[in-house]
Amino acid sequence: MDQKNAGLNISIFFCQQIDPNQDVNRRALERELGNRIRFFPLPCSGRIDSLHLMRALESGADKVYVITCPEGACHYREGNMRARKRVAYTQGLIEEIGLEGERLELIMAPAGLPVNIDELARDLLSREATTGPSPVRGKTA
């Protein structure tokens, strides 16, 4: 079943350079899904910190995406590479408490920016859900 219909909570951290109109473009999905979807724009994906990802999971996200600019296209040169390392580190950390590492996923935006964040997010939502609701949600899911 795809993620949208599986009723999962999705958090999306993304680099603002991907869609300069993101504050407008994301409203449709926010209206549709309410607090089941949360968008976190960043000045650069390299600003992502493991702590942000942990807090997102702790507050009930079942799946967390980090969307970076394509390889070689980072406005700040290495931000997307740093994001990759931090996502990897956090995956290791959550695996230590028995959560699937794939609850965190790094996505590179397609080449040829800008891209509409709404399109990007809908594409992610239409993907097959590989993990169910997070056990962190507790018994009251």
């Binding site: 910190d49 493991s50 702590l51 942990m54 807090r55 999971l57 702790e58 950390l93 959550i94 230590e96 408490i97 028995g98 959560l99 997070s134 056990p135 962190v136 949600r137 507790g138 018994k139």
Partner: protein, 222 residues
């Protein structure tokens, strides 16, 4: 600084398993510098432990706090007003910090979240290397500030050994031969004369063998 690394979470979980109210305490000094026990790391660990508790249906309270240092009474004292609210302190201090806190609050159970490792430097972001063994008898002046006790695998004072080739240590090719470094630096400084005489055996009693060492300064006592 003193470096440390976080213990595996499975090990930490075992230590805090009997408790319901846990205070995770970090330290803003050495362990913050080596990204193992500072405020951020406290946040990461506490978050992970809270999620783990929730996922296993356990009702556990896990709170966070970070002291500037865990090895000095003036800072440890900040815990005094809150320590009674918890069953256990999960300390992200180095071994010195954990024990210092335990001395101030002997009735409170304190467990270490870190494995304290070595005295070293931040060589690059994300890379820490041991460079001092606290031998109590610093000879860096004779060896171009390259410590043979720490950086030579055999601790030679009259090195190099016969296994040194292409400036790598025979024990670990990732480690430069300390003696190659010492010789080339002394040569650059024009001080190879420092290696002419046989450097005598060290006084190891200054480093170990008599239990915990101490420093006492009458002029610093209140």
């Amino acid at each position: 600084m003193i470096t440390a690394e976080r213990k595996p979470i499975s090990e930490i979980k075992e230590m805090i398993a009997p408790y319901k109210k846990i205070l995770v305490v970090g330290c803003g000094s050495c362990v913050a510098e080596c990204a193992s026990g500072g405020e951020k790391e406290v946040g990461l660990l506490a978050s992970a432990l809270r999620m783990d508790s929730k996922a296993s249906g356990k009702d556990v309270e896990i709170k966070e706090m970070t002291l500037d240092r865990q090895c000095v009474y003036e800072f440890i004292d900040q815990l005094t007003d809150v320590v009674d609210q918890y069953d256990v302190i999960l300390s992200l201090g180095c071994g010195a910090g954990v024990q210092a806190v335990a001395e101030v609050f002997p009735k409170v159970h304190i467990v270490p979240a870190l494995n304290t490792t070595f005295i070293g430097q931040t060589k690059e972001a994300g890379l820490w290397i041991e460079n001092c063994r606290g031998c109590g008898d610093c000879k860096l002046g004779f060896f171009a500030a390259v410590c043979p006790v720490t950086r030579c695998a055999k601790g030679l004072f009259n090195g190099p050994c016969g296994g040194s080739k292409t400036d790598r240590c025979e024990v670990d090719p990732d480690v430069p031969c300390a003696w190659q470094l010492i010789v080339s630096r002394l040569e650059d400084m024009g001080r190879l004369d420092l290696l002419c005489k046989v450097h005598p055996p060290a006084d190891w009693s200054k480093q170990q063998g008599k239990g915990p060492r101490k420093i006492y300064r009458e002029d610093q006592r209140s």
